[in-house]
């Protein structure tokens, strides 16, 4: 049985009459220990999909299941890394993580919890900044805290909603490598939502495109049979990687192309012929009957250079 499962899920927003359907007919299975990436254009409903898995949103129809049981709300078995970090600005790094740990492991002793928190801060390489406030950290460091917070909950599924989209390319690459390392050690079930094809292929076992039809729906699953650990530099020349990337990009571009709406519009071309007004007096100019128009000309002389 799949760990996470979505069956015929539909979701839209708004009231009847003013409604936008966002997702249609979503079917997804994520097995224990799998790293699944969902890739799609921004605005297609990726966050909606993740929020349904996290339990923050309910589907309009269809089922969202965790181990065969319907998801009714957020739970400690699923942790979520937000796109915009969502750290509480009045708490330090340690306190932000402690908030999660204290709520998931209320029975542990204080020392046990502190040790646990410190372990995860070290895992994301932030031990030197443990007592800092989020505003004193860079974007990359903030997202590390957010990842540590999610990991510290020791949940069965880790959901990541475009975790690296807000970061610059270099920071993003480092974090991808770091998270990939952590995953190799822990082998948690991960659902990673992204808009970056390279990131998806580099990290995941399975890549599923979210096609930008209206409403959006999931495309065909693409398996990534590349060996781990995947070296970023080597990947740039790996023919298999390149083929997968081309395939994925084409898939997404085609879906976008098909979706292009056709609007016909009547074009009116300018209808004025050039005339020589350099020798005209102002009086002639005033009494002129207006510009010459091609549609009114009976005959036209065209000078042809021979």
């Amino acid at each position: 049985m799949a760990l996470l499962e979505l069956n015929n899920v539909n979701k839209g927003y708004g009231t009847p009459g003013d409604r936008t359907e966002v997702l249609r007919d979503i079917n997804l299975k994520v097995n224990e220990g799998e790293f699944v990436a969902i890739i799609g254009y921004s605005g297609t409903g990726k966050t909606t999909l993740v929020n349904m898995l996290a339990g923050l949103l309910k589907p309009d129809s269809g089922e969202v299941l965790l181990e065969g049981k319907p998801i009714t709300g957020p739970g400690p078995d699923r942790s979520l890394v937000f796109q915009n970090y969502s750290l509480l600005p009045w708490l330090t790094v340690t306190e932000n993580i402690a908030l999660a740990v204290d709520s998931v492991f209320p029975d542990w002793s204080k020392e046990q919890r502190m040790e646990h928190i410190q372990k995860y801060i070290a895992m994301v390489k932030l031990s030197h900044a443990a007592t800092k406030l989020p505003k004193e950290l860079s974007g990359g460091m903030r997202q590390r805290v957010s990842v540590a917070r999610a990991l510290s909950m020791d949940s069965r599924v880790l959901l990541l909603d475009e975790p690296l989209s807000a970061l610059d390319a270099l920071t993003r690459a480092t974090l991808q490598d770091d998270i990939s390392d952590i995953w190799l050690r822990q082998r948690k079930t991960v659902l990673w939502v992204t808009n970056d094809p390279d990131e998806a292929i580099l990290l995941a076992d399975k890549v599923i495109p979210l096609l930008p039809t209206v409403p959006a729906t999931l495309g065909e699953t693409m398996l990534v049979p590349l060996d781990r650990p995947r070296d970023r530099k080597a990947m740039n020349h790996n023919p298999e990687f390149k083929a997968l990337r081309n395939h994925l990009i084409n898939l997404l571009l085609d879906a976008k192309g098909k979706n292009r709406a056709v609007v016909s519009k009547k074009l009116i071309l300018p209808d004025i012929l050039p005339e020589d007004i350099s020798n005209m007096t102002s009086l002639q100019m005033m009494n002129r009957r207006g510009p010459r128009r091609r549609s009114e000309e009976k005959r036209e002389e065209v000078e042809v250079a021979s």
């Binding site: 996290a54 339990g55 923050l56 709300g73 957020p74 739970g75 400690p76 942790s79 979520l80 937000f82 915009n84 969502s86 509480l88 600005p89 009045w90 708490l91 908030l99 999660a100 709520s103 998931v104 505003k135 917070r149 909950m153």
Partner: protein, 294 residues
């Protein structure tokens, strides 16, 4: 003008010009005493003192200073219940304001939270709040007297130390000063970013943890803006309340001096009220700035 800015003199020279201009204007409109020798109906020459001027009863700045001096040089003197140094009166007023203000905060903050959290409660309470909010302290005070007519706390020697008028005074200050705190807290709670609430949900925070670790810190800047505005109103109301009750304090002193015809001390009271109000506002905005998060 350039040397002014260069020497940073304009920071105090320009305000000084403003003060001097007001003093000059005050001097011009105030009443001047003239002593004339005029023949009366019997033909005798008598000395007559008359006041002339645009507002002939308004004392001049110098007269004001002379009349105020005993209250300023001995600010804590107590010559009688309604004849004390100006700071002594200020202290009495501040004590009453503090009590009323604290009641306003204790009632207003939770009320604001409920309004911010529950749309249904907002719908139910909003018409009442909108009607009660603009009511003047002068209108609340008699109602306070009626509401607390049976309040009488007596100390050991049989002297009433907290009676109906004290309760009514606190009631008036609290109910007038409460609204900015209520409104700002409600707005602040509604403005808590959905992201923070999602974090609380995903982390499965308990209700009390969500309140103390997420909602309250996120609302704090709004709350303190409300607290500052409330303090300003509380200080406005105290003067009105003291004038109505005649209890010792800056406002009570002001009203008594008006009735006694010593107009100079009214001006002293007005200036004191203004300066204390300014100081309170500055103090609160310093506290407010400390709590600006994110």
């Amino acid at each position: 003008m350039n040397w002014l800015t260069r020497n940073k003199l304009d920071d105090w020279i320009l305000p000084l010009i403003g003060v001097v201009a007001v003093l000059v204007f005050w001097q011009i409109i105030s009443g001047h005493t003239e002593t004339k020798k005029v023949p009366d109906e019997f033909g005798d020459i008598v000395t007559k003192t008359v006041k002339t001027g645009i507002s002939k009863d308004l004392p001049t700045p110098v007269e004001t200073w002379k009349a105020s001096k005993p209250y300023l040089v001995e600010p804590f003197a107590k010559r009688g219940e309604l004849d004390q140094g100006i700071l002594s009166f200020t202290k009495l007023s501040l004590i009453l304001v503090t009590q009323g203000y604290l009641i306003a905060l204790i009632l207003g903050t939770p009320l604001g939270f409920f309004l911010g959290l529950s749309k249904k409660f907002t719908k139910a309470a909003d018409p009442i709040i909108q009607v009660l909010r603009p009511v003047s302290p002068l209108a609340w005070f008699p109602l306070g007297l009626i509401l607390f007519s049976s309040v009488k706390l007596v100390d050991g020697s049989g002297k009433t130390f907290f009676g109906t008028s004290d309760a009514a005074a606190l009631f008036t200050i609290a109910i007038c000063a409460m609204w900015p705190t209520v409104m700002n807290t409600a707005v602040g709670v509604r403005a808590v970013p959905q992201d923070y609430l999602n974090v609380a949900k995903v982390l499965k925070l308990s209700r009390s943890k969500t309140l103390w670790k997420v909602l309250v810190p996120a609302t704090l800047p709004y709350m303190f803006t409300g607290f500052r505005l409330s303090l300003g109103i509380a200080w406005l109301v105290i003067v009105a309340v003291e004038m109505l009750t005649g209890r010792p304090g800056v406002g009570g002193f002001l009203w008594q001096e008006y009735n006694a015809g010593s107009y100079a001390r009214i001006i002293l009271c007005i200036l004191t009220i203004g300066i204390i109000g300014l100081v309170l506002d500055r103090l609160m905005s310093m506290v407010e700035r400390r709590f600006k998060t994110a």
